[in-house]
Symmetry: C2
Subunit: 356 residues, 2 copies
């Protein structure tokens, strides 16, 4: 494995006071990881350096043609003081899936995981300890060739930056209001929907903005072909508890394979629940709601872990789910997953990795 050079900052920043609000994604730690790729040379010069701006050519590939992929993961300060990552191998594997679609050279997953551990270890004092707080980790890769032309880059940068973040819902786990998007489409099969790439999020901005203006938290996307099958929420996968079946849209190329999603599925199956990955239409959900068979709905994602959905608006139909309250499945998943992440519940699955 390549050696990671470390240059420690000479000007450590002041850390947020314990208990101070930590708005998502705005405060950055003292260091960042960088590694370069050059055609013929491969990934080289892995290094941890003081956090700060980078120089970019105005013609850089990523600015014009969006050759850019990323991951989102967290480090948790466990109740016993250890620092834990949650399934980081899955994030690195998914990064390589995104790389493949975006013509970005594969990374060495094991090495990248070690690099992230090393970065978190160096910035360990930045991992917050407040209730629900964590260190959000953002690995990303950008093509930076100074060349105006639609071609895969020959020079790329892999970077990792970190932000201490507070509990996603400071008031505790509260059901959110979600809005079914009818006009805009996020991704379609054959496209890039299953990857974490910049363009998917760019495509979502307008609908998300309109949802917020109408006081909804996020949008629920429908498929781009028939415009009726449920895909995912803005930055979460989605589950519906109908009768005694838990249904989540199958992975068919246009939605992200969420790591929280796969953990929820594994866990519920472990509990003996019936979980089905299949096509599910918005009509089916609305019908189940009308017939009183829609018990719960929730989103799953790294940022909020589990987000119960209290209201789902589809055109003129507004479904109130479980009287707008948290249901037992959502609550149990939330408690167990966050319990494992913060080291309060035994990690039977071997999902956590301790940062040394």
């Amino acid at each position: 494995m390549q050696e990671i050079k470390v240059e420690l900052t000479k000007n450590p920043k002041e850390k947020p006071a314990p208990g101070a609000p930590l708005p998502f994604g705005t405060i950055f730690t003292d260091h960042m990881f960088i590694m370069d790729y050059d055609l013929g040379q491969g990934w080289h010069d892995p290094r941890i350096v003081p956090y700060g701006p980078i120089e970019m050519e105005p013609s850089a590939m990523c600015l014009h043609y969006g050759q850019s992929v990323f991951e989102g993961m967290k480090a948790y300060r466990a109740v016993d003081g250890r620092i834990l990552l949650f399934r980081p191998d899955k994030n690195m594997a998914r990064l390589n899936v995104s790389n493949d679609r975006l013509c970005i050279p594969q990374i060495d997953e094991k090495f990248a995981e070690k690099a992230i551990e090393k970065l978190v270890s160096i910035d360990r004092d930045w991992v917050p300890s407040g209730e629900g707080a964590s260190l959000y980790i953002r690995p990303f890769i950008i093509g930076v060739d100074p060349h105006v032309g639609v071609h895969p880059a020959h020079h790329l940068m892999f970077m990792v930056i970190c932000c201490p973040v507070g509990a996603y819902y400071p008031e505790g786990l509260n059901p959110v209001k979600i809005y079914v998007e009818k006009n805009y489409v996020r991704a379609v099969r054959g496209g890039m929907g299953y990857t974490k790439t910049a363009g998917n999020y760019a495509a979502s901005l307008k609908a998300q903005d309109e949802a917020e203006k109408q006081d909804y938290t996020q949008v629920l996307w429908l498929d781009g072909v028939e415009r009726k099958y449920i895909e995912e929420v803005g930055t979460m996968n989605v589950f519906f508890v109908i009768d005694d079946e838990v249904v989540t849209p199958e992975l068919q190329g246009s939605i992200l394979s969420g790591i929280t999603r796969m953990s929820c599925i594994d866990m519920m199956r472990h509990w003996g629940m019936k979980v089905t990955e299949r096509k599910i239409s918005i009509d089916e959900v609305a019908r189940a709601a009308q017939e009183g068979r829609l018990k719960e709905a929730f989103g799953s994602g790294t940022a909020a872990v589990i987000s119960p959905i209290g209201h789902l608006k589809w055109g003129d139909v507004v479904m109130e789910i479980n009287k707008g309250e948290i249901g037992p499945v959502s609550q149990k998943l939330y408690d167990t997953l966050t319990g494992i992440q913060w080291g309060k519940v035994k990690d039977e699955f071997g999902w956590t990795v301790e940062v040394q």
Copy 2:
């Protein structure tokens, strides 16, 4: 109108020797235009400064979430020495269409056009004069908030950079080989296909790469819903001459409204030809080819102006069009459009704008 501050370079670069090869998008002029946007303040501080790298926060919005739009246009050195732009108002109008979809604040189109004229005027000695050579102009806007979160940026940059470029096909107008893409989809209705935004090009990289490996120049995209209607070529719109009708896919949200496309349509109608914007399936094209009714096919775009298509491969079917040679419609459009652009043919439509 705001005043544009000018800071001239103290280190002018050496210009390419007349007649030297000018590979597309790799050589940049001495100056660039920059203007900032801040929420509450609007677009401000327009300036022309020496060309060079910019400082970028690793968390910059555009790197992660692709809030980025651009334009592509050219300045031509006319035979009488004047420098001409081709329909720059259309590029600025389209930039605002892209802005709207990507939650980017509107720009003042007239002002932006003036800014581009001023930049080209300052770098006028960079406008090459070789046969078919021109100055490629790349206006672009990026969201640069140092904030990890999927929200429209509050701080953005509008920049314009320029590259002297040689004739797109140095050997002259030669028919290209195009490959009909069956697996990948570029864009779908409800998405961002009608805009010039980074993500659309990111989505195209893989198919384009595979086409090139098979010795095809670009791919022809099919629609993302039924996977049978023709959309556009990688960076060109597309036309088919079938019997005495010229057909081009209608603008329905997933393809770019090309400025060369609209100019071709206007011009052919002016010549009394029958031009139809409608849905056209790949089956229809293949059938017409088989029946000997497909007279010509060509792509239209700023880079190459007109690209006759000599071979079109659709799975196992390889269509040779017009014996792989340039047809009369392609040739006449090419000659007239480039004639207007280089000031050799009278500009009856008032499409050119002289840079003072």
